[in-house]
Symmetry: C2
Subunit: 342 residues, 2 copies
Amino acid sequence: MSVTIKDIAKAADVSLATVSRVLNGSGYVKETTREKVHDAIKQLHYTPSAIARSLSTNKTNTIGVIIPDINNPFFGEVIKGITQVADEHQLNIILCDTDDCKEKELKAIKLLREQRIEGILMTPTYGEEAHDSAYMSTLDNLGIPVILMDGHVKYANYSGVFIDHVQGAYDGVEALIHAGHEKIAIINGRLDSRPAKERFLGYKKALNKYAIPLHEQYIFNGEYDHERAYTMTKKILLLEDRPTAIFVSNNLSMLGCVKALNEQSLSIPDDMAILGFDKVDALNIIGMNISFINGPTTLMGKTGMNMLIESLEKQKDVHMRELKQITLLPELHLKGSEKKSV
Amino acid sequence: MSVTIKDIAKAADVSLATVSRVLNGSGYVKETTREKVHDAIKQLHYTPSAIARSLSTNKTNTIGVIIPDINNPFFGEVIKGITQVADEHQLNIILCDTDDCKEKELKAIKLLREQRIEGILMTPTYGEEAHDSAYMSTLDNLGIPVILMDGHVKYANYSGVFIDHVQGAYDGVEALIHAGHEKIAIINGRLDSRPAKERFLGYKKALNKYAIPLHEQYIFNGEYDHERAYTMTKKILLLEDRPTAIFVSNNLSMLGCVKALNEQSLSIPDDMAILGFDKVDALNIIGMNISFINGPTTLMGKTGMNMLIESLEKQKDVHMRELKQITLLPELHLKGSEKKSV
DNA sequence: CTGAAAGCGCTAACAA
DNA sequence: TTGTTAGCGCTTTCAG
């Protein structure tokens, strides 16, 4: 079917081994021979088969990346970071989107194993209850390096890059407090997800630090999506002792919150101060000036990829599993919306 | 290194062929034998090697997807459509992001060829000037089916799914006209890209149909990004004979335009009617009610994938290249912003 | 500097 | 119903 190294050998009147040598730049090849081979390659439109090469060398130079949702700009940026480093190291990546669904995640892992990828970089499905023993067992028996990116896998310690959601949330809420807020509501995700749990913790720590009591009616845990955030915001606006600020702990939720405020023509921050976690580019660009805590997305991707490359190399030397965890600090971007109206 | 079919054969005390048979469900295998083999597979945590299988069968069941920017939600949706169909047909996909850069695109094609993918689904780099003869030649010599998705490759006819930007723009602008607008500005991309050219054409056709003269000062062609759109919008707002509506022909541009309007506290549509091409989810959700023409993204992905699968099958039968082009119509979503203030 | 040949893990005739 | 064997395209000793 397609042209092979054999055809090239024939055309250039050399042996297979010689063609292979010029292809890989390995071993000695006379200059004129090299040229003959190159000519044949051009002539015949030859492209080496990564498949055959992989089988022969037992290396694929490919790593698997598993993330919950490509369409979330957060992960879009993470991917940019990953591919950047991968490109520099001539590593191919196979990208798998799990739709935040455990079954798809397991399927992806299976696929990647079949493809004989050399390592995995992943953000596991968020819900921790999803991590049963079968799940953990596949992860443990992978036999290749796994680097986590900001996800949480119950009962296990894996190497990875993590974001300090606690500190991020703390810093943000503290900024609200410094600006004079005391009645601060929170719209949060499910507490069995690491990010939601930690962000909530940061919120509580900040309030606690400044001796502000926690009001149950200001706390809204749920799912990270805009519909719920919309409903929650409307409830918040109806509270008797209405908060002066809302900490919206997720980018998707932010949209629902802003929608609710818009509907009642409440302006940010004059009628309600808003602090977000993870940025919403569109809202920033159009000038809504919502203050937000921003996870280091691209950096996380780069760091994760570098860690993976490192453990790929280590793997050769010794036969041990090393645990390494790097924590990245989110940045606080104050855009004026943390302020309290005067 | 990793466990192979041979280990399984040994463990189950059968031949390689038998293991292969139970793996593929091909040929006859006695029930008890099958079980023995399955047991061995479980025991040894065996995962078949797609690499070896591909080499042997000369099939990879993998197709390449090349798009300019994963982070653009437009393509995010396209990808969802593609993967959905691919999943149904058990096809793997290798996703390549070109950053809208010709070099990366060529590199991606090379990579995919090496991986022996069976077909390509792509949105080529937009700028047509990028399509020189070398580029065209690699595309032509691919030897596998290529399906285009809404891109334009100069001087060549490829099969693909296309969006009728002309009609989409026409419908949208017509809606503005019906609502009473005559002074309609356009913020557009580079005219050497197919979408920009066609959207511009639709704009002109609509004006022409209703005998509205074209005003040069209302026409802003440039690049599809929010900074330029911002600048353009500010210029539009300074025009002596200020338009009453703006057709913003791209989702990125929309952000810059809205920013400029916000800065001057101009409300949509009372102070300025706005029509967009391609939706901006965030703005919709928060309730900005911008009217827009929406390209059928997911549908395009699905259709493209289906076309590719079809030509993959056809390829076996006869040895001919069939040209097939499907055009999808964008939908007009009127959200009130097409109206003229009273 | 170059060639011959074994082998990577699997499939697919062909025999048995 | 099962086993034997010849490749798939390439790399890599080991000889020459």
